[in-house]
Amino acid sequence: MDFRGELFPQLFTNGVINGSWYGVLGLGFALILTVTGRFHLAYAVTYTLAAYVAVALSQDVGIPLGIAFFLAVVVASLSGVMTEGVVYRPLAAGGGGLLGIFIASLGLTIVAENLIRLTWGAGSASRSLVGFPLRPFTVLGVTFTSLDMAAVFTAWFLVLALAFFLSYTPWGRIVNAVRVNPEMARVVGINTERVHWLVFAIGSALAGVFAVYAAMRFAAVPDMGLQQTLIAFVVAFMALGTRPVSVALTGLALGLVESLSGLFLSAQWAPVVVFGVLFVYLALRPVQLRLALRQVQRLVTA
């Protein structure tokens, strides 16, 4: 059988799995960025913390995996809210500006990573989350696992649920109002502080979900969050608009491009491909292309 012919469906499937994952991470990052204006690099902290909490609760305390998963997502959500409340908002109130918040976010990421190393300091602090019934499936020569399926279904469920929330619920409309025009939202009596906390809670919870999946698929390690945050940033930046399905489709496209690059390039070039796509997008994006893509996305998401 032709090597390329057999390889393509497997890489495509891998791309769908990773891309769905990237989409949700990008969605959480984009929501926070566009509604609050915070460049939340400490998204990495939330991600890493959720993975370690899930491992600690499941394996050290002995809580069932499902409950540990839920509690880890709650902790992730609270961690995001606390970051906003204790770090970003006071900085913004003191005139810290975008750069000040970015630097604080970077500092927080470094400190938290080292605290995790100290807390789980034995060896390299790597902790694998076990307990999920991990089974491989092979369909038409393509192999994937029960965990991959769960991650993809979870990703698209969350995307659609968030899309519904933002479009059809009063709180979702309030979030959209603050995103589009925060000054006007304040004028009409919306408490933007609460809205910021809400989007930090939602965005961080999304990161928490996939951090726990990452701990099951790979392992929890102290520096696991930064790479994923950079990917989330690329997805958020490239997404045309902030509608959940648009952002998720951008993540999916990025995952597919990254994975399908394996048809021609060895795996060590995958990160280069991700940032290469961003570079090309930034360098070459003509307004016409942007408008055309927006039309296509409107049709898809209508």
């Binding site: 090597f3 497997q10 891998n14 913004a92 938290a112 100290l118 390690v221 060895s266």
Partner: protein, 447 residues
């Protein structure tokens, strides 16, 4: 912006008392201090891992001088000698840094107890193979007057060589050794086998015995630039001699966690055996994904560490490894046994190959110091290397028998050593030796 400007007032009123704020400040300060401490790799002479203080007399060291040579003023007793150590104290390979630190510290403690010099250990972090950090660390040590360095990751992937050679500072590497590409480098010597090359003959011969139908071999390894080329060339040569062929050669980033693309590409070539040149946690990640990839090839890795096994879990039961392994179950000689006992007592954990190598390297340094002092010469890198060249044999934890400690001998041309190596299998994260070999051939098959 009004609501943001009033934020602090409302924040204090509603949620924070001064006591709370002080607690928060203390927490942040502790976090910053922790980060700074870890990032700097600890103070001079202090292990970065918070190693407990030596417990004198915990293990009987009375025979140490009989095995490794005499102590006393002529052996450096009373002198303080700086010893630079460049390790992966942070990053994905920090397991190595921590276990090597422990081996070094124990070696320093035992040398002092045996009447040797007081080595003032200066730890530096190369951040798990960051060549810039490696070169910077070496430069700082040279500027600090250090004459001898213990390095890892093959002279931190070659980056320290341009620093130590003009400064005439001796470097010994028991972590990555010389590899093929950094052999015959002045002032640089490997104290372990050449990896993974030295395992190729023995592994190929073992595969022929145990998997007689295996012909198609795939290689998955770290991308270390031009250092890959001689390794692959030699592998092809060994495979051809054993009626096998290399059907895939995949390179991955150091510290990679997602192997889905790599596994898909390897799977397309339908290999019988996959040889991995991965270290640190990477083989754990690889195996965790490999077992669900649908492939049935036998994976043979380049090392076993408990840390990677913790990542892989039960997947490691399908993993074989081949390297210059340090056997805890059957210590090679009485000094090996003493080392194992002392390590367990001091750290409440098992030592591994890397701890043994760094412990042993401290004793090699002591022997060199003893030789230089016996000639009334100053302790310089140049004099230390000359002492090594004049007699390249040293006492070793490896080899020997129940009554006699082993020896290792440096190859004066290649700057490496030919150590006993093993092939092992894993069950429940417990490694088990199934064959022994040297770089030329399989010596003994146990299973």
């Amino acid at each position: 912006m009004n609501d943001e400007k009033g934020y602090w007032d409302r924040f204090f009123e509603r949620r924070l008392s001064r006591r709370h704020l002080m607690r928060l400040g203390a927490l942040v300060a502790a976090g910053l201090a922790a980060g700074a401490y870890l990032a700097c790799g600890g103070e001079e002479g202090t292990p970065a891992t918070g190693t407990p203080a030596p417990r004198a007399g915990a293990v009987d060291l009375s025979k140490l001088n009989e095995w490794v040579g005499p102590g006393g003023p002529q052996a450096g007793q009373g002198q303080t000698i700086k010893l630079g150590v460049i390790l992966a104290l942070t990053g994905p390979g920090s397991y190595y840094g921590q276990i090597m630190t422990k081996g070094t510290d124990l070696g320093v403690e035992h040398v002092r107890a045996a009447g040797g010099p007081n080595f003032q250990v200066i730890y530096k972090d190369h951040k798990s193979g960051d060549v810039t950090a490696g070169a910077t660390a070496a430069r700082e040590l040279v500027n600090d007057g250090v004459q001898i360095i213990l390095s890892s990751y093959g002279a931190v992937l070659g980056s320290i060589l341009p620093v130590i050679q003009p400064a005439k500072v001796l470097a010994l590497d028991g972590g990555g050794g010389t590899s093929q590409i950094w052999k015959r480098q002045d002032y640089f010597w490997g104290t372990r086998a050449v990896i993974p090359d030295d395992t190729f003959n023995g592994v190929a011969q073992y595969i022929r015995r145990k998997l007689p139908n295996a012909r198609r071999i795939a290689s998955v390894g770290w991308d270390v630039g031009p250092a890959n080329d001689p390794v692959i060339a030699y592998l092809k040569q060994v495979l051809a001699a054993n009626n096998m062929e290399l059907v895939a050669e995949e390179r991955v980033q150091i510290g990679a966690t997602d192997y889905s693309t790599t596994l898909a590409r390897v799977r397309g070539t339908n290999p019988d055996v996959i040889l991995t040149g991965l270290w640190g946690l990477d083989p754990g990640y690889f195996m965790k994904q490999y077992v669900t990839s649908g492939m049935r090839a036998q994976v043979v890795g380049a090392e076993f560490t408990p840390d990677a096994c913790q990542v892989a879990g039960a997947a490691y039961d399908q993993y074989w490894f081949a390297f210059d392994y340090f056997d805890l179950e059957k210590p090679f000689n009485p000094w090996s046994k003493l080392f194992i006992d002392a390590f367990r007592q001091k750290y409440n954990q098992d030592p591994d190959f890397y701890a043994a190598n760094f412990y042993e390297k401290v004793f090699i340094v002591w022997e060199l110091v003893r030789r230089v002092l016996s000639r009334n010469q100053p302790i310089t890198g140049e004099n230390l290397q000359n002492a090594l060249k004049q007699n390249p044999t040293f006492k070793s934890l490896y080899g020997g028998d129940a009554n006699n400690v082993g020896t290792i001998t440096f190859d004066l041309e290649e700057h490496d050593v030919d150590k006993l190596q093993v092939i092992g299998k894993v069950s429940g994260c417990k490694p088990r030796v199934v064959a022994k070999m040297n770089r030329e051939r399989l010596l003994e098959v146990l299973d």
